[in-house]
Subunit: 290 residues, 4 copies
């Protein structure tokens, strides 16, 4: 029997220039569409009569950027998602994800892509008219040089880690928050950064919970936030063989392995998440040999 | 409120050499652990008394490789997962994923890592003794030069794609199948490859369904298989400006965007999946700007 | 016969924290060492008596960061390079490359790695006391929405490209400039950015030459600059099938292939480059299948 | 003054299918072109009258694949390179690099890209008719579990590395050999692999020299070979805290830093290398923060 399924065009790389007046503006988006619905026929019999081609989806992304402009990432994703479910036909649900990188202005027509951070918006629209909103970010790399401890953990036969009351804490924040469509991205981002900077950490889990709680507090429109925080280990280098002390001044930043700390903070009374946490992709290849 | 959460050491890169006799053998594994359970205290209060350090998890991986050897990836993952839940304490569920790359023999002590394919085994163990098995593979890149059509799809205002009765079909297979612990990896892999090669494709969805069905047919121990198949577009280059024909002989292999076709095939009467499809990681960054 | 050769420890990832006072500071460096000299014996006979272990080189990087601090990347590289050649022994030349990413301050002890740009410093020291300086940057991604033309190029049998008097121009700047050790990085970088932004481009080659010339003009200490500029094509999407115009507003940003435009601008009367452009690595794998 | 410069289309991804008869065949190439010559006018004045567009170069790659087929990578590169210099005009030298990945056959029309190795051919043609040939490979990952020692190296203040008479040796071979155009790729590759497997190593430098010498011995047409061998460290995990021995059985495969051992072996009386080792790209970004 056919199980869960979805399909669409992924990573359409759209650059949209606004050329009104002397000063141009620039948006740089990666747009991915996934449709689901009554698609038994194409799977079982190869009947494509219900399959809106992924090439058409790509064309729609470009055409909508011209017809309607981009607006906020959430608006653009919503317009596209509604289009695919409102067309009638087999599609009962459309998921549109937009990933944006920011460009800073060098001049009226020139820009530099100085940031490595990636902003994410995802909208899921259902045939009945309902819609769900997820916003977030990836690759927000942060580090604190102190105010981080880790001790009191259990010691079994395989435990060698020393307790510490002062360590470097570094991570690359991946966050997604579901909301009613009105949540401010910049307020959520500021809450994450301010809390990371100000929090005295007894564990990365505690920092994660504090960061998530701060977003819920700052953004009433947010129902739930999920965070994935790799613990990017910074090891104090042993310089004693060279007659040198090292009081948390010289570190080796290691690549692998890394701790992976993940968790959600949910507002009490939050509505049902609907399909927002349904897996996309169905198969995740997070870990791979290089 | 704290929502779903998990933590562990990811991507411990273990190489295990067996040195019995003149001919050595070699295993090359990436091991990732994720534990979940009663971890409210560490999130809310920073109390680490229940938190088995991820460093300890890493040590355990190395120690078990020495004490017990590796065996099959599934055996190794199961032994580790059971260890973490059987220790008592807060852990109610342990997820261990092993990703292996194969090495081919050059001599009694020398090897070449000729393959780019990655083999995956994932075992989830619960405190009560239950265990779930998922096996799979990633980066299995396949292509067929004909026997692939795509036509009969609907045409709306944004459709420009021409119908075709002969195209190149290429994909990088990611597959995961849940089973009772006894499924043969090589039989599942052979079913995927044989079906891809032999199937006359009317759409990638149909090929996906045929590949998944073939695995269920070949492997009675498999309950369900999930496939994620990027449609790696090969475009026929228009050589007419140069006075040349191009009857599906010269292609431009494009990078982005790509179709992403995903689906599951489930055996009738399959048991409940339990936690095997629960999201890991919680936040997926599949699409990102480069 | 043994030909050109060099060896060393690559990509030692050093993070150096200054903890003087309430406000900490942070440096994040990737340090790579390459030594060359009289190393016939190790190659031909496996005699390691002249081979300073690459592990020792790594230790030296960490120890020097503690003993002397980092200072400018050029100072740090020079101190290390001199150390390796002054030790006597077989080393006649030491090359030390430092790649730095910047962190911006969130608080007295907290930082965000907001930039994707990579700053490079490379110092080569010879046994006789001479030293050469190269500075530069990678991954400086820039784009202009207009002020770029491309026409007047020859047309042969295989030419289909239309002439244009208005296109998007985008590139990721890689630059290296050799200098006397006193050149200001920020002035060189500003000259690159300002010229890119202000230049009316008739070809990327012309823009390259203007950018390089501007650095020579702004920085008297610079003898020569080499630039490698991938032409990251932004194609105007044909929206006419959908009844829409597209006057340079909606673009597809393509990944591959790309133009690769490279060139040097040299100050008249510049001294001999010495070893600064000698190949490192000896074998370059710029282009590879993904 | 304008210094060294070159330009061209990089990474044209060509897939060529031969459809003669029932059994198809498949070639998968990444083709990069770099032209140099009298290009002062475009750099200094933006005059494009000598600039064969990189788009035209791409078209030529596809058209030649149709008109002449691919043949050996060296033949294909030579035909293209000669075309660009024989056209007259400003081009005095053309460099064409072809990187191929192999596909293995699944059926008459189906293939799997099982190997991760990349085969390289580079031909440089000069306007006068001369041509130079370089062949090689990248990403050939090899490992030996014993027959590798490292001791007798000097110990200074910063040396902590223990001597060893038995270690794991692992590397990813990058090799380029210049030859007269008639060298057999498979014989060169076999000489590299056989020597790596059979050689008792006292240092990676010694292994490098032995591998290079073996290629010169096996292939009379080869003048010189350059090898770049990262020493991918495999560290013996200390299991003594767990009451376990570890006699080279359990290893941590580390990512960074790594040793980078590079060298050339040159045949006595080899002709002048001409332009074959000229830098491409002009700026190498080998090391970068991730």
């Amino acid at each position: 029997m056919l199980g869960v399924n979805q399909y669409g065009k992924a990573e359409t790389h759209l650059v949209r220039v606004e050329r009104d007046g002397e000063e141009h503006s620039l948006r740089d988006l990666l747009v991915s569409v996934a449709l689901s619905g009554a698609f038994e026929d194409v799977h079982v019999r190869g009947d494509n009569s219900a399959v809106l081609a992924t090439d058409t989806q790509k064309n729609t992304v470009y055409a909508f950027a011209r017809e309607f402009g981009v607006g906020s990432c959430e608006e653009f994703a919503l317009r596209l998602a509604r289009h695919f479910v409102d067309a009638g036909g087999a599609v009962s649900q459309a998921r549109v994800e937009v990933v944006e990188v920011a460009w800073s202005r060098l001049g009226p027509h020139a820009f530099a892509q100085t940031s490595r951070e990636q902003r994410v918006a995802c909208v899921i629209a259902a045939a009945g008219g309902e819609a769900w909103f997820v916003s977030g970010l990836s690759d927000l790399v942060v580090l604190k040089t102190t105010d981080s401890e880790f001790h009191g953990f259990p010691r079994d036969r395989y435990t060698t880690l020393a307790e510490t009351s002062d360590r470097v804490l570094a991570t690359a924040v991946s966050a997604r928050w579901r909301h009613d469509g009105s949540a401010s991205f910049s307020e959520a981002r500021a809450a994450l950064l301010d809390t990371f900077a100000a929090h005295h950490s007894l564990s990365l889990q505690q920092t994660l919970y504090a960061m998530g709680s701060a977003v819920l507090e700052a953004c009433p429109a947010v129902f739930e936030i999920r965070l994935s925080l790799p613990n990017q280990h910074h090891f104090v280098v042993d310089l004693s063989p060279f007659g040198l002390t090292n009081d948390n001044e010289v570190f080796h930043a290691d690549d692998r392995p890394y701790g992976l700390i993940e968790g959600a903070v949910v507002r009490e009374g939050a509505p049902d998440p609907g399909p927002v946490w349904d897996p996309y992709p169905l198969v995740t290849n997070l870990h791979r040999h290089r």
